[in-house]
């Protein structure tokens, strides 16, 4: 089977890759581009561990084909920190210990970044509904939600 040539943008960098028609964007990110931040949890769009943004829209990369990335802009957790300087959400997740095993964390960070860009002042209910598609089996969510609320408050103050 001939491979598909795809030209796209990942975290602001122009990227080219060859992929099979069946390969998902998640497969491509992890296995071809060595961006292993996005995780495969369920592979069926239920758990959100593979969350990335596609043209700014939050999606599950397991439910996007690599071929669909042609000409689009993808952002992953690897693009959140600025060099050694963590994104405020990443810093706050550490402070709150808002993670245990860490599998869900990249997806939750990408998802909450997308939320705060749209809504800098979400209610706790809004945060919980926005993150309903990001499953965490360790923390019980409480520290995650508190970390997000506190980051949002800090970022509002800083802006």
């Amino acid at each position: 089977m001939s491979k598909i040539h795809v030209t796209t943008t990942v975290n602001g960098d122009a990227v080219e890759f060859l992929c099979d028609a069946r390969e998902t964007l998640l497969d491509v990110l992890r296995d071809r581009l060595n961006l292993t931040g996005a995780k495969e949890g369920c592979g069926t769009g239920d758990c959100g561990a593979c969350s990335v943004t596609l043209d700014g829209r939050l999606v599950c990369s397991c439910l996007v084909l690599g071929a669909e990335a042609e000409g689009r802009e993808i952002a992953t957790v690897e693009g959140m920190a600025n060099g050694e300087e963590l994104h405020p959400l990443q810093q706050k997740f550490i402070e709150y210990a808002a993670l245990q095993c860490g599998i869900c964390t990249p997806g939750i960070l990408v998802a909450t970044k997308a939320l705060l860009e749209r809504n800098p002042d979400p209610t706790e209910t809004e945060v919980r509904y926005w993150l309903a598609g990001n499953l965490c089996r360790c923390t019980g969510y409480d520290k995650i939600i508190r970390a997000v609320m506190d980051t949002a408050a800090d970022m509002r103050e800083a802006s």
């Binding site: 089977m1 829209r57 599950c60 996007v64 939320l115 509904y129 598609g133």
Partner: protein, 287 residues
């Protein structure tokens, strides 16, 4: 599997016509790619429709009808500044499908063509009277969405045909719609029962109504007897009771892990009453 991304519906139909084996059209992919990954349906030909002009747009036509492109996501419907004011029930029904991530990809047309009896947006479309443009080798025809699903996972679309647009009628004066579903939690679940009501008022009296139920039969149902229970009334208690009875009588549900026949039948009547009250209030609030 061959992946194609044609730039027009004519090309999409030509590719489908020339293909052998299993063909699937790809819009949001939230069902097609799950089935692909799980080896439930492995297409030989996958036709990505998102490069076709106009499929990403929501347009109000000159006659007030809404044209919803087949690759418009649920999130784009929810964010649209005017669609939700005209058809809040339809937009809310689509918004109930899946998570934020799924909303970023899932489409109204996909929800219809996946043909799940429990699809949330489908009863809302039935009630709203949505029309589909169906494009195939013989050109394009208009088909009421009520004629698209024929059973779980099955549609009336012929091989090589695809939906090329959905048309939601002009809202017009004194109209309102609502969709409610029952799930055992607050988010991220599949409807045990869904009910959509769309009605129009003349003064305070209901002059037109359409009632649709989901997840209580092999396809979503349009229930004319339930609509008749509303028409000519001011949604008094007697009308609501007649509506609930008609809705329950129309149910032909299965027993499964999500709900029993008895429970689904009862809940259909309860949701019909609640959805009718919301639709009625919305219609009264509109000039």
């Amino acid at each position: 599997m061959q992946y194609h991304s044609p730039g027009s519906f004519e090309d999409a139909v030509a590719i489908a016509g020339a293909a052998s084996g299993t063909t699937r059209f790809l819009a949001g992919g939230t069902d097609v790619l799950v089935q692909l990954r799980a080896d439930i349906v492995t297409p030989d030909t996958l036709i990505d429709v998102k490069k076709i002009e106009g499929v990403r747009s929501i347009t109000r036509e000159a006659d007030g009808d809404w044209r919803i492109g087949i690759a418009v996501s649920g999130a784009e419907m929810s964010e649209h500044p005017e669609l939700g004011a005209d058809w809040p029930g339809l937009v809310e029904a689509m918004d109930l499908v899946g998570s934020t991530q799924i909303q970023g990809r899932a489409t109204l047309t996909g929800n219809l063509c996946n043909a799940s009896p429990a699809a949330d947006s489908v009863p809302a479309m039935f009630a709203a009277g949505v029309i589909a443009s169906v494009t195939g080798p013989q050109g394009t025809r208009q088909v009421p969405v009520t004629e698209i699903p024929t059973g779980p996972g099955k549609t009336s679309l012929k091989p090589g045909e695809l939906i090329s647009a959905l048309h939601v009628p002009a809202r017009g004066a004194r109209g309102g719609d609502a969709y409610l579903r029952f799930i055992p939690r607050t988010e991220m679940d599949i409807a045990v029962v869904g009910c959509a009501v769309n009605l129009r008022l003349d003064g305070d009296t209901i002059s037109e109504a359409r009632v649709s139920l989901g997840a209580v039969a092999p396809t979503a149902l349009l229930v004319p007897e339930a609509a008749e229970a509303l028409i000519g009334t001011t949604l008094d208690e007697a009308a609501l009771e007649a509506l609930a009875t008609a809705a329950a009588d129309a149910c032909k549900p299965i027993d499964d892990k999500r709900g029993t026949v008895k429970f689904r039948t009862h809940v259909a009547g309860v949701l019909a009453k609640r959805a009718a009250r919301i639709a009625y209030d919305r219609a009264r609030a509109r000039a």
